[in-house]
Symmetry: D2
Subunit: 253 residues, 4 copies
């Protein structure tokens, strides 16, 4: 179980969300509250959009709490749309290529959860990738694969939220067909640099937690509330997704 946070709004320094809050993501790395796995020390990553189409990404295998580069980066980079993620590895090994967020062209993606029985379903899922995206795999995680599967649909013209949901449905069907009993669990964020989509889903009744928070200058999607104010944070229902863009937040459930 990993922890993540995404922001869309007025440009702010990354540390405003990633490092400073009482229950910031860097704090959650050391001591998450709404997760089985308390420690998320198996690497981390941040991704941020600037003036160019392609976002910046910084990923590292150290724990977020001990990386001075991360602090310096978050204290000096300002962005109106950024992702941050701390990892508790469930598979795929500790490597930068397995750290979130994943980037492909203008797209960013990060994920908390897992494909149950992944070893048994990985091959069938990878076989669905078109040639160019198949060659784009860099790591060994189920997360990167789900991202590329969604991109494959998006590239054929499917709207991003439909693409992501279609991948989840088909993956669940594939798992059922293969007799895999472990669940598919999925909390994730996806962006093209203009809008932020976030998803909460599980094939059983235990989807990973996901919240939307309101700030004066924008919105946050996070695995756990970053502070204690009960009004500011709204939990997403299971099997729902939200779109955050300049018009605000739209919940689809």
């Amino acid at each position: 179980m990993c922890r993540f946070v995404a922001y869309l709004g007025e440009p702010i320094y990354l540390d405003t969300v990633v490092c400073t809050p009482r229950h910031s993501l860097v704090r959650q790395a050391l001591k998450a509250e709404e997760a089985h796995t308390v420690t998320n020390g198996d690497g981390f990553g941040v991704g941020w959009y600037g003036d160019r189409t392609e976002p910046g990404v910084y990923r590292e295998v150290m724990p977020a709490w001990s990386d001075e580069n991360l602090l310096a980066l978050c204290a000096t980079v300002r962005s109106g749309l950024f992702f941050a993620h701390v990892r508790a590895a469930t598979g795929g090994g500790i490597a930068r290529t397995n750290c979130h967020p994943f980037r492909h062209g203008k797209w960013l993606f990060m994920h908390n959860g897992q494909i149950g029985g992944y070893a048994g379903v990985r091959r069938a899922l990878e076989a669905q990738l078109p040639e160019r995206l198949y060659a784009a795999r860099r790591g060994a995680t189920d997360s990167e694969l789900l991202f590329l599967l969604a991109l494959a649909r998006i590239e054929t013209g499917v709207p991003p939220a439909d693409a992501m949901q279609g991948v989840l449905q088909d993956t669940q069907a594939l798992m059922t067909g293969l007799g895999i009993a472990e669940p598919l669990r999925f909390a994730a964020a996806l962006s093209d640099g203009r809008q932020l989509l976030a998803f909460r889903f599980a094939s059983d009744d235990r989807p990973p937690s996901l919240y939307v928070g309101r700030r004066a200058d924008g919105h946050i999607v996070a695995s756990e509330p970053l502070d204690g104010s009960p009004d500011a944070w709204q939990g997403l229902p299971a099997s729902s997704w939200v779109r955050v863009d300049e018009d605000g937040v739209t919940l689809h459930s």
Copy 2:
């Protein structure tokens, strides 16, 4: 607060102590029980004696639990005298040069605890180092400095245990003289490749925990018992030290 373990006895694979036990050091890295700081993810190190005089050392800034090199090393290296340490940084930054154990010639040293108000006393302590050991400093920790201060005395012929205790007394006196209120806390292990010395000390009434355990093939000194057997582990009293060598364990308190 860090956690460590040291072994002296018949040659065994490092993983016997470091990775395999129910409450092994690698487990303690993720979830220590007898420490303020639950997570010890700020790097780790192992040191082991073989046929050569100088011990081998492997130190890394990643958490012990996520490093495949550590698992492979511990599964293939066998030694009759070795150290292992997981770090929760109190100062000095996350760098290999700040990871324990420290090596100097044939000597290995590792430490759990700290010099209170270190920034204020560091300079006076470093001034006590003879030229060659002053130049040997590689990192920025109080631990490395205490090690070199002990070596400075050992090189003049003082017995190792006396040297270490002398450094502690003089450091405490220096702290008192400078009006430093924070305590000096010290659990540590020191070896020259033949004997293993372990120390438990504090200037207040809260020295870090330290245990000696008996195995069929040797003895273990550890911050916490590695398993639940109440008979096998004996806690060291405060202000005591033990010598472990081929003749067994001798407690000095």
Copy 3:
């Protein structure tokens, strides 16, 4: 173009071959002589057999010349059969999972060269892997894939050298069928812990260099001679392979 060295003989310290010689592997990392790419600084690895069936492996993304852990390891680990490799990345990214040698059970493998047009042929090659080996992929290199393809044949009872050669022939045929003009180049070492097999091959007339050297206590297979003695080193002809075991060296060409 990477550089590598393998040793089989009386147990010796790894540094005897890896660090000490005038033109040791660590030196070759900084300044190779018989390669297009002078610098091999994109990670390294060592693998060594001991008493257990499974070999130890230490792989790191830093250059070999700057890693103190490597020096310490090579100075204290002794083995009668070991591999060492320095990498100049041609693809797959800089990650430990892409560093050689690769290990699978009792097997070690390392490679210098590449599959031309790999992005176009990767999928077809991966499709040949049986389920369990498909799930064993950790990185993104052509080298790891060639290793697993050979293991797939070995597990069905094909002798290792035949398996490796069969993979090369079939891969070349596949590349030709797909109209890939770039060559397949391959210098590699493979071991099961008892024998050492080394291969030199190319689909064009420029196979990577490979030498066998004789020492008083054993044999070395290396990308480049480790010292200047003209008598001790014998270059392998193109399209040949050697077996090194306790009976000596057998050349097959």
Copy 4:
């Protein structure tokens, strides 16, 4: 011998200078032309000023050419004043804390060269540091020490260029007094976020190379010209320094 580049002018993406030019710093890391040491693969760093007083810093022990984080950072961060450095270690070990640029408050510093016989003079130099700067040492390099010695003078009101030159003179005098025959060599850049100072000095007749280049949008100080245009680059004479600010370049020799 390291290589570095500094820029002051209109805000530009870091990659414009660090990664893109034909002979960019990343290229120099792999193959420097005007240096004894061809390969500068022992870590690197970038530092950049933004809206806040304190600059951002990213330092890593991998070679610059293999770090994807560096590429992504340089492609997305824009700054009107930044430093970049690739290291060929002469001492102090491979650690982030030994990588340039060094930061202290609003100050950035990077260095190419060395204090000859450093082990013999280190202690006397460190003794000159005031308490607070003494405690600020994080690594073990002569470069960090020279930086802190200059800051010690600056904090007493000495103009930065005078402070730096005073440190060089006094260090050279100290070396002479101690009978150190090895030279003091020094090419360096220093900034407070508004102006860029660069120095070229040696106690013998071989100061490290240093150039000032003119771009349409600003000025560059670099160890080696970043491209082949002979008009755009001007070599600094030995024992000189330049100030680059919004008024242009002023040479002092």
